[in-house]
Structure formats: structure tokens, C-alpha cells
């Protein structure tokens, strides 16, 4: 069953694989996953942590919609999307997307589509704490330094 939501802890990948592999009974042959992780270095500067905040319940609702809509496409059997919130250190997973599909091409295309939607649709916000200050990350990766007055 497709599912998308905000989560506060890690996801067990082995267990998720186990669940998605059940769709093999319906002809699923390929699972495609994307896992976002906190970068330890951005623009040559050390990152201490990323703090994620979700505007709930709307963020979970948006993630659920993405999962259900993309899972309803032809040859796609299941889509899971889990977005973490809270303070995450470099190397920590921030986002999990998993797709089960009949064939590899469908799986990869669905993964790519879900990923782009997750980047732009759910109201999730991130603050990057680096050695050179705190930065809001907005839009497609723009960094806005905190405490500098206007941001634009």
C-alpha cells in the first residue's frame, strides 16, 4: 500500500524491502530507492547539522498524495515516501523513497518523478548549521544566511 509521511526516526530498509518484495506476486521485478543524506561539506564548508521542520499535517498529506498518485500509474505497484524531521548530523538519512514496479525502466522513472515532487511540494523547511553560520535552504538549494536582514 502506498504511503507517504513525515517521520522522526530512521527507517528500516531491510524491512521495507521485505514489504515491497511482496509485490513480486503481482509481477514486480524491480525496486528502486533513493535515500537523501545530510552532506558533511557544502560550498567547501563543514556542516554541523541540518534541522528539518515540517508544517504538519500538510507535509504528511502532501507526501501521502505523491505516494498514492505515483503508485496509481501503469506498471507501478507501490510507492513509499518518508521524510524525516528534527536535527540530523552529516551522514544521517533525511529522506527515503522506495518504488516497486514491474520492470526496471518503470521503477527508475517513477523514482525520479517522486523525487522531484518531494523536492518541491511538501511544506518542509531546512536550516543548515555550518562552521560559517546558519543558512536557510530554500527552493532548489539556495542558501540564505541568518541574521543578515533581508534575504533576497
Amino acid at each position: 500500500m502506498p504511503e507517504g509521511k513525515v517521520v522522526s526516526s530512521r527507517v528500516d530498509l531491510n524491512r521495507m524491502l521485505e514489504e515491497l518484495a511482496k509485490h513480486s506476486a503481482m509481477g514486480a521485478g524491480g525496486l528502486a530507492l533513493f535515500i537523501g543524506v545530510v552532506k558533511g561539506v557544502v560550498d567547501g564548508r563543514k556542516v554541523r547539522e541540518l534541522e528539518y521542520e515540517a508544517y504538519e499535517p500538510h507535509a504528511s498529506r502532501a507526501l501521502g498524495e505523491i505516494a498514492r498518485e505515483e503508485a496509481s500509474r501503469e506498471k507501478v505497484l507501490d510507492v513509499r515516501v518518508y521524510h524525516r524531521v528534527g536535527r540530523l548530523k552529516p551522514g544521517e538519512p533525511t529522506l527515503y523513497i522506495a518504488v516497486a514496479a514491474v520492470d526496471r525502466k518503470t521503477a527508475l522513472e517513477a523514482l525520479s518523478r517522486v523525487l522531484e515532487r518531494v523536492k518541491h511540494e511538501p511544506p518542509v523547511f531546512k536550516l543548515e548549521r555550518r562552521e560559517d553560520g546558519e543558512f536557510w535552504v530554500v527552493g532548489d538549494g539556495k542558501r540564505v544566511k541568518r541574521g543578515q536582514g533581508g534575504s533576497s
Binding site: L95, L115, P122, P123, F125, L127, V138, G149
Partner: protein, 79 residues
């Protein structure tokens, strides 16, 4: 009527508060709410990319009603 306003990310810093209750005339539009917000927190005017969500959705209907929750957010950067 009263609506609740929430600020996120750069817009929270610009307003200096996480949320606020704003009193508006009945049937006030999103544009009137924004005027009121810009008046209270002039720094919000410096923000170029402001997305307004009404009850979590991009504000399609322009008229607000009692109890609506409005969120000011920057372009999303998920993942």
C-alpha cells in the same frame, strides 16, 4: 474574524515570530491579510519569494474565513 498565521524558514526570521493571531474584517482577502502583516513586520517586505498557503494549500480562493490557518513559506526545498 480571526485567522491564525504561521511563519516558516526565512519568513519566520523576518517576522521574528512563529505564529500570530490576526483580526480582520469578515470576508477579508489574502491581500488584506498580507497588508496587515507587512504593516506589523516591515521586514517581510524584503522577502521576494513568499508563498501563501491557506489551510495548507496554495491560496486559490481569495476570501478568508474565521478560523482559517494561513502559512507564509518560502519556495520548498524538500529532501
Amino acid at each position: 474574524m480571526k485567522v491564525k498565521v504561521k511563519f516558516f524558514s526565512v519568513l519566520r526570521d523576518a517576522a521574528g515570530v512563529k505564529e500570530a493571531l490576526v483580526e480582520l474584517r469578515d470576508g477579508a482577502k489574502v491581500s488584506e491579510l498580507l497588508e496587515e502583516l507587512y504593516f506589523r513586520w516591515p521586514k517581510l517586505r524584503d522577502e521576494r519569494d513568499v508563498i501563501v498557503l491557506v489551510n495548507g494549500k496554495p491560496s486559490s480562493s481569495l476570501e478568508l474565513k474565521e478560523g482559517d490557518e494561513v502559512a507564509l513559506i518560502p519556495p520548498v526545498s524538500g529532501g
